[in-house]
């Protein structure tokens, strides 16, 4: 019984169905809602819990050294003075070096898969590049020690030294060092960045591309003038996501970087990163303060990768919204 557009309407009373719907289904709907909402909330809560616990673990070191820990150079377990400068710089240098190699490579792979490759080989090659991301980092590291390092030491580093040695960056060849770490990180970041680039390039409107070709542009001019400018922000986001991977990789880097301080201009010499130092010293910490200082290194790493990811994810999200028209 009720009013519909101001007119009193009568309906025959509903019998039978009503009670069952109210009893079981209301409880069921409510329960499923609460349980799933809880799971969703928990997933978000994990992020907060990780930040909180890492801050908690590094608290003794934060109290002792303050924020200047980030740029202090000394790391001396004997005198219990700790600073992160070597590790922060090492992390930034290896990760950016890796992206100098991986970014152009990834964009080129993305272009090959979206514009150039015949449809028949597009899928298989794309899957193979994705497979590279599935290889566990410890296996890449093992391969790095016994296959990549001998190769760079005997073949690549002497060549670079002969031609570009005067810059000081490519000094005397060394086995384990920052350079093989950059190569290993580039291998791990490329599948991430290239698969994002491929998706972006594929979704550039076909009419734009055809218009450029119709005006007489070559394929390269179309890519340079239409495809890439259209999704520039997304490509940057893809590179930042790859960078996030490169910044946070611990195992493969610690296997090939040689774990040595101080940092040198010669990138063939050993170095160290935040993550590689954690992986290297996980069992060696003797005092509580040293453990806490190690966790502080983890906190710095967390902040850097967190910011990088947040920025990249927001850009990616904007592109998705643009593409689907906000749905």
């Amino acid at each position: 019984m009720g009013k519909l557009r101001g007119v009193e309407v009568t309906a025959p009373p509903v019998t039978g169905l009503r009670r069952t719907r109210h009893a079981l289904d209301r409880i069921g709907d409510r329960t499923l809602y609460v349980v799933t909402a809880l799971a969703g909330f928990l997933s978000v809560l994990v992020v907060a819990a990780i930040i909180w616990q890492v801050v908690k673990g590094s608290w003794p070191a934060i109290k002792q050294f303050g924020i200047s820990f980030v740029w202090n150079q000394t790391w001396n377990p004997v005198t219990s003075v700790f600073g992160a400068r070597e590790y922060v710089l090492g992390t930034l240098i290896t990760a950016f070096g890796a992206m100098l190699i991986a970014a152009p490579l990834s964009i080129a792979i993305g272009l090959f898969l979206s514009e150039l490759a015949p449809p028949a080989i597009r899928g298989p090659i794309g899957s193979l590049v994705d497979m590279l991301a599935a290889v566990p980092s410890v296996v890449i590291g093992l391969w790095g020690i016994y296959v990549l390092i001998p190769f760079t030491f005997h073949d690549i580093e002497p060549w670079l030294h002969d031609w570009f040695g005067f810059t000081g960056i490519f000094g005397t060849p060394t086995t384990a060092g920052v350079f093989p770490a950059m190569l290993v990180l580039a291998i791990m970041a490329t599948p991430i960045t290239s698969s994002i680039c491929r998706e972006l390039f594929i979704n550039v409107p076909r009419e734009l591309e055809e218009a450029a070709i119709g005006l007489g542009a070559t394929r390269w001019e179309m890519v340079k003038g239409v495809v890439v400018p259209n999704v520039k922000g997304g490509v940057v986001a893809g590179i930042v996501l790859g960078l996030g991977r490169a910044l946070g990789e611990a195992i493969a880097v610690t296997q090939v970087i040689g774990n040595g301080t101080p940092l040198q201009l010669n990138i063939f010499k050993p170095g160290v990163t935040l993550a590689s130092n954690l992986a290297n010293q996980y069992s060696g910490a003797v005092s509580n303060l040293q453990v806490s200082a190690l966790i502080y290194l983890g906190l710095i790493l967390l902040v850097i990768t967190f910011l990088a990811n947040l920025v990249a994810q927001r850009i990616v999200l904007r592109f998705e919204l643009q593409r689907t028209g906000g749905n």
């Binding site: 978000v44 946070g248 947040l310």
Partner: protein
């Protein structure tokens, strides 16, 4: 009559050459990535070959200096950690995905998705530190764990690695389930919770299995989260999850830096086991995902 040359000259010729150069560079880049994969997989296969014996799968490690021995404790340990990680991450991840696709307002759903992606981008070693501070360094109230490393702690760390992968894939597949299916169910008078559980979930099950498989492939190969949570293990097969267990990735890591050259062969053989498992599972998972996507696409 003078013949007209169709050969491009001058400026056009230069443009065509630049275009050809760019095309060749793109092809070389793609070939390079595929070649690196081939070399990595190829060298693992080649170097693992002579260490892959029956003993390698059934025996434990031998005392330093002796040859032979195997990684059976690590195989058992990795299986145990992955099972623990699955038991935590699959229910949580699937339920969270149901929340986002079936219940949550659009803005809330977008937030959950964003933070899951951020979680996915966290360095895995930081997740190890998180579990270390939470459940290894301190004692966990009520549960009988803490104060030392354990398979529980390692499995929990791996579950955090798996959670975003399981949840995001499930979300993606759930949004592909056509609304007409849900509406058909409502039209029959079926309530929401039964629609979700008996109509929506079964049609998305392929995607959920795929997401889980991909996540297992990723988790089984992770070393970094285990360093702080599950690395000081005994050399024997243990079934007790309150004790640290030996794992395949950590075995590779410690053998690869060992001074004993006979262990390097073992490291390659362990890498073979790991890479074969990871590549086979993620390859099948990808094929399954494509199939279930296509199937859902056809219903619409």
């Amino acid at each position: 009559m003078e013949a007209i040359s169709l050969q491009a000259t001058g400026r056009s010729r230069r443009r065509l050459l630049v275009n050809r150069g760019a095309e060749i560079l793109a092809i070389v880049a793609a070939l390079l990535a595929v070649t690196v994969l081939a070399i990595v997989v190829g060298s693992v296969f080649a170097r693992a070959f002579h260490s892959l014996t029956w003993d390698f799968f059934t025996k434990g490690p031998v005392i330093f200096g002796q040859t032979g021995g195997g990684i059976s404790p690590a195989i058992v340990g990795t299986a145990m950690l992955v099972l623990i990680a699955m038991a935590i991450s699959v229910p949580t991840g699937v339920l969270a995905a149901i929340f986002v696709s079936e219940f949550a307002p659009k803005k809330v759903g977008a937030q959950v998705r964003l933070w899951l992606d951020v979680l996915n981008g966290f360095p895995s070693i930081v997740i190890g530190i998180f579990v270390f501070v939470l459940a290894v360094k301190t004692k966990v109230p009520f549960l009988d764990i803490g104060h030392h490393q354990s398979a529980w702690a390692g499995g929990f760390a791996l579950s955090i690695i798996m959670l975003p992968l399981v949840s995001r894939t499930t979300m993606e597949v759930l949004t592909l389930v056509p609304n007409s299916l849900r509406e058909a169910s409502y039209a029959l008078g079926v309530s929401k919770w039964r629609t979700v559980l008996s109509v929506v979930l079964p049609s998305a099950i392929g995607g959920i299995v795929t997401g889980t498989t991909l996540a297992v492939a990723r988790a089984a190969g992770e070393t970094a989260p285990l360093l702080f949570t599950c690395s000081f293990a005994s050399q024997f097969v243990t079934w007790d999850p309150s004790q640290p267990v030996s794992t395949i990735p950590f075995t590779i890591f410690s053998y690869s830096e060992s001074p004993d050259p006979s262990l390097h062969g073992q490291a390659w053989a362990a890498a073979f086991v790991l890479i074969a498992f990871v590549l086979v599972t993620s390859l099948t998972a990808r094929l399954l995902l494509d199939r279930s996507r296509r199937k859902l696409g056809q219903v619409q």
